[in-house]
C-alpha cells in the first residue's frame, strides 16, 4: 500500500504516520466523500445504486491511472498517493453502500449490481493502468 516497504519498520512507521500524511488522507477523504454525495444526489433516489456503481467504476479507473502515474513518474510529490489514492479516491468510492444497495434492490437488479460492480471496476482499473502507462511511456 505504500512506497516505504523497503525501509526498516520504525522508519516506515514514522513516514506512514507523519502528521502531513494523516492530514492529506483526512482532507482527501472529505473531498472524495463530498464528490460522491454530490454526484449521487444528482440522480433520483430510485437510481442511486446505479449512480454508486458509476462512482465506484470511475474511481477504479482513476485509481489505475494514479497507480501507473506514481510508478512511472517517481518525481511526483510523496503525498500524491496518500492524498489522491487513500484520501480522495478512497473516500469517493465505497464498498459499504454497494453491499447495502445489493441487499436493498429487487432480485434481478440486485444480481446485476452485485456482478456488474466488480467486473466493470476491475476492467476499469486495467484500462486506467494500461492507458496511463502507454501515455506516460511515450
Amino acid at each position: 500500500m505504500t512506497d516505504d516497504e523497503d525501509k526498516s519498520p520504525p522508519a516506515r512507521a514514522r513516514a506512514e504516520f507523519a502528521p502531513a500524511v494523516l492530514a492529506v488522507v483526512a482532507l482527501g477523504g472529505s473531498l472524495g466523500a463530498v464528490a460522491r454525495w454530490g454526484l449521487v444526489s444528482l440522480f433520483p433516489s430510485a437510481a442511486s445504486a446505479w449512480a454508486v456503481l458509476g462512482v465506484n467504476v470511475s474511481g477504479a479507473l482513476l485509481m489505475g491511472v494514479l497507480m501507473a502515474a506514481v510508478t512511472e513518474v517517481p518525481s511526483l510529490p510523496r503525498l500524491t498517493r496518500p492524498f489522491l489514492g487513500v484520501g480522495v479516491l478512497g473516500g469517493y468510492t465505497t464498498f459499504s453502500t454497494y453491499t447495502a444497495d445489493v441487499l436493498a434492490l429487487d432480485r434481478f437488479a440486485a444480481l446485476a449490481c452485485l456482478v456488474l460492480t466488480p467486473v466493470t471496476a476491475l476492467a476499469a482499473v486495467a484500462v486506467g493502468v494500461r492507458g496511463a502507462r502507454a501515455v506516460l511511456r511515450r
Binding site: S30, V34, W37, A60, G85, V86, T99
Partner: protein, 118 residues
C-alpha cells in the same frame, strides 16, 4: 449543512481506514490485502446497523454517507484485485473479490438485523 456532515464523516472515515489498514497489514503483513478486507467488511456491518436503526437525516449524512462511505473503499479493492491477478494468479484475485463481497454482504445482513431489532 449536509455537505459539512458528509465532509466531516468522510475525513474521519478515510483517516480511520488508513489507520486500521496499516495496523492490520503490520500485524498480518502479506501481499494479501487483509487491511482493506477488514475495513470493507466492518464498514458494511456498521452501515447495515445504521440502516436498521434508521436515525435522522443528519446522522445518516455524517455516519452513513460520510463515515461508512469513506471508511470502505472500492477503488483500492479493485486495484488490489488487479495487482493480485497480474502479480499472482486469477484464482487469488477472484477469491479476494468474492471473499470480500460474500463477507461484506453477510456483515451487512447481520448489521441490518441487529439494527432492526432495536
Amino acid at each position: 449543512m449536509t455537505v459539512l456532515l458528509v465532509a466531516f464523516g468522510g475525513a474521519l472515515g478515510a483517516l480511520l481506514r488508513y489507520l486500521v489498514d496499516r495496523a492490520v497489514q503490520y500485524r498480518f503483513g502479506s501481499d494479501f490485502p487483509w487491511g482493506t478486507f477488514t475495513v470493507n467488511v466492518t464498514g458494511s456491518a456498521v452501515l447495515g446497523l445504521l440502516i436498521g436503526l434508521a436515525p435522522g437525516d443528519g446522522v445518516m449524512a455524517f455516519a452513513a454517507t460520510g463515515l461508512c462511505g469513506a471508511f470502505t473503499t472500492y477503488s483500492t479493492l479493485s486495484y488490489d484485485a488487479y495487482r493480485l491477478a497480474v502479480e499472482g494468479t486469477a484464482v487469488r484475485s477472484a477469491s479476494y473479490v468474492v471473499g470480500t463481497t460474500v463477507a461484506g454482504l453477510l456483515a451487512g445482513v447481520i448489521g441490518l438485523l441487529a439494527g432492526s431489532a432495536f
